[in-house]
């Protein structure tokens, strides 16, 4: 058993992180808020050139030929920087929808709950988006539509999408710990950094625990592909991101409540992802049923 990342996996993670840091830093994040509901198509094509969408496509089909663990690492990095767009839908469409793999075509899908992300920016919509109504999205970086017909997106691989969502949540969860710690180290009140107060330390440590426990099960689910592992990964990663972003906001105090701070963007995105199919109730019921099945 060698569960830790291989050299190649570390290199992949570093590569994706460097690309995203260079091409999607804080300024681009704030600019993207002004662009939405349009997407930065140049960046999208660059991601395509770097193999982001073709990651799991076999080499014979022009892809990178890597597996789910590598995809999870890439989506974790996307989650760290709040990379916008229907990234998962487009990667899932690579090899099926022409141009998806290269980043020429932006693909979105109608999820099983009837929600569509980035409908206006997408070239191709998988599922029936007939009669879609715009929603005033809580997340300024995820335009949302609602489709009246339920189950119109049943063709989408829900467990796979749920796992990649968990990977994005993991990245967000890890990043908000860093933001909270940076702030707690530098912000002074009562003549000392607020991170010297045990109450603040406890918040930050709790955030890290949730992230590291989630990381273990998200990576394991990427290796096994087992639906129960995926459900566990999703539950814990949602918690790491949502609860983590809320605690990060709390550590930031009044500054965290402002539009100018980025903290709300992490929380809002985490909320949007947490509503995707494979939600809390579904995961908990699946895992409960699994207990009976395993115990006989």
């Amino acid at each position: 058993m060698r569960f830790q990342l291989t050299e190649d996996q570390r290199a992949l993670r570093t590569g994706v992180r460097e690309l995203l840091t260079a091409r999607f830093g804080r300024e681009r994040l704030r600019a993207a808020m002004a662009d939405a509901p349009a997407l930065d198509r140049d960046l999208w094509r660059e991601l395509g050139d770097a193999g982001f969408f073709a990651l799991r496509l076999p080499e014979a089909a022009g892809g990178v030929g890597l597996g789910l663990p590598e995809a999870v690492l890439a989506f974790e990095e996307a989650g760290r920087v709040l990379l916008p767009g229907p990234l998962i839908a487009t990667q899932l469409a690579a090899g099926t929808v022409p141009g998806a793999a290269t980043g020429e075509t932006v693909v979105t899908d109608v999820d099983t709950g009837g929600t569509v992300e980035w409908l206006a920016a997408a070239d191709v919509v998988r599922g029936d988006a007939e009669g879609a109504v715009s929603v005033r999205s809580v997340d300024p970086l995820t335009p949302l539509h609602r489709v009246p017909v339920q189950d119109s997106g049943a063709a989408v691989d829900v467990p796979l999408k749920s796992l990649l969502t968990a990977a994005e949540q993991l990245g967000t969860g890890a990043r908000v710990v860093e933001l909270a710690v940076e702030h707690a180290r530098t912000r002074e009140q009562f003549g000392r950094p607020i991170g010297a107060f045990q109450a603040v330390q406890q918040l930050c440590a709790g955030m890290l625990v949730r992230v590291e426990v989630a990381r273990a099960v998200v990576y394991a689910a990427a290796v096994t592909g087992d639906p129960a592992d995926i459900a566990a990964a999703r539950l814990l990663a949602d918690e790491a991101a949502v609860h983590g972003a809320r605690d990060c906001l709390q550590v930031h105090g009044g500054m965290g409540f402002t539009w100018e701070s980025d903290v709300h963007l992490y929380l809002k995105r985490a909320w949007v992802r947490a509503r995707r199919p494979g939600s809390v109730t579904e995961c908990e019921e699946l895992l409960a049923a699994g207990l009976l099945a395993e115990a006989g």
Partner: protein, 373 residues
């Protein structure tokens, strides 16, 4: 990322399973929890059985991944726990192996491996709990002996131990971490009084140990005088995240039993309870994966504190859920399964450093936040 056994690991697992299937049916009956001599004999006998079969050193020599397989398979097969051998095999032994002289290793290690001697741990004191380095048990030099006076608490197996790994203060004027010395104290030395300590679960699992002018030979000191804190810390990460492998396996089994019991008594139809058990399934799956992650790490990382924080809480939640499954008045009946476990689980967020202190350790040492106050 690879979760499969290597060929060597797979072979180890297969041979172990085969051996367990043969060895376990011939074990004697387990002694009652109050029968200390019986427990000592049983636990030592199991260690001897392991030793004879070539598994005596699995806690020491083996790769963490192999040790994990050993702990997983023995728990699944229902084999005895390490019990009275815990301190000898998992703490005092590794400390002596790492820091002892050749003579010390030759004297103390073989009897531990062969299941002949029991060790206990004299670390915590009434006024030195999470702040272990504040310990005050005093040792002064007198010729070839140290003369030790003070008291220790939370000492498991003190009633039946041959040796005690003892932390004493040899320099009261030095900074608190620098005046501590590690001694091997024979438990039959004059001046030692052992008093059982009854826990809230009603068990006599622990003892208090009172030391009144106990003479311990200087030759029993491991490491240099006043270097005992470092000597102790060297082995604290020894088990490399495998300490709770068996317990996580056991918790997952209990969780399955809870689901079956809930289906039996109709409480499974309550979606709140059902989902609570589902959530616990996620929790213990993740803890299992975190164990595998930590065991695969080439250096002991942050995993230990993270694991302990989450596991101790999850274990308590498991037995809270058990009370819900049992319902009233069964949840209040000590004869029912899981009710005593619910009580015992209360120690988990306290023992070996409270969760509050663990959070501070993570915040300061892992996240690099300023020292708390």
């Amino acid at each position: 990322m690879d979760l499969t056994d290597t060929p060597q690991e797979a072979e180890f697992r297969a041979r172990l399973r085969e051996w367990l299937a043969k060895a376990l049916p011939s074990l004697p009956d387990r002694p009652s929890p109050d029968d200390w001599p019986g427990r000592r004999a049983y636990d030592l006998g199991w260690q001897r059985t392991l030793y004879d079969a070539g598994y005596g050193e699995v806690h020491w020599g083996a790769e963490p991944a192999v040790r994990m397989i050993f702990l997983e398979e023995t728990e699944k097969a229902g084999a005895p726990y390490v019990g009275a051998n815990f301190v000898g095999l998992l703490h005092a032994g590794p400390t002596i192996a790492a820091e002892g002289t050749e003579e010390q290793k030759a004297r103390w290690l073989p009897p531990v491996l062969r299941g002949e001697e029991v060790w206990c741990q004299g670390f915590s004191e009434p006024d030195a709990g999470s702040d272990l380095a504040a310990l005050r048990t005093r040792a002064r030099r007198d010729g070839d002996d140290y003369v030790v006076s003070g008291s220790k608490i939370w000492t498991s197996h003190a009633e039946v131990a041959d040796w005690c790994e003892l932390l004493v203060r040899t320099d009261p004027d030095a900074p608190k971490h620098r005046g501590i010395t590690w001694l091997a104290m024979p438990m039959d030395a004059p001046g030692i009084t052992v008093r059982p300590l009854r826990t809230l679960a009603g068990s006599n699992e622990f003892a208090e140990v009172f030391l009144d002018e106990v003479r311990v030979p200087v030759a029993n000191r491991v490491g240099a005088e006043n270097d005992g804190w470092r000597v102790t810390m060297v082995t604290l990460s020894f088990e490399r995240g495998t300490a709770f492998v068996g317990e996580v396996v056991a918790c997952r089994r209990v969780l399955g039993e809870l689901a079956l019991a809930a289906r039996e008594n109709g409480r499974w139809d309550d979606p709140v309870l059902r989902r609570r058990l589902g959530r616990l399934n996620a929790e213990f799956r993740a803890l299992w994966r975190l164990t595998q992650w930590n065991v695969s790490d080439s250096v002991p990382g942050v995993g230990g504190s993270v694991f302990k924080l989450r596991y101790s809480h999850a274990r308590q939640e498991l037995y809270e859920a058990a009370a819900e499954v049992l319902g009233d008045p069964a949840a209040l009946d000590l004869e029912q399964p899981w009710v005593l476990d619910r009580l015992s689980s209360l120690s988990y967020t306290i023992a070996a450093g409270t969760s509050q202190i663990q959070h501070n350790i993570v915040a300061e040492r892992v996240l690099g936040l300023p020292k708390g106050r």
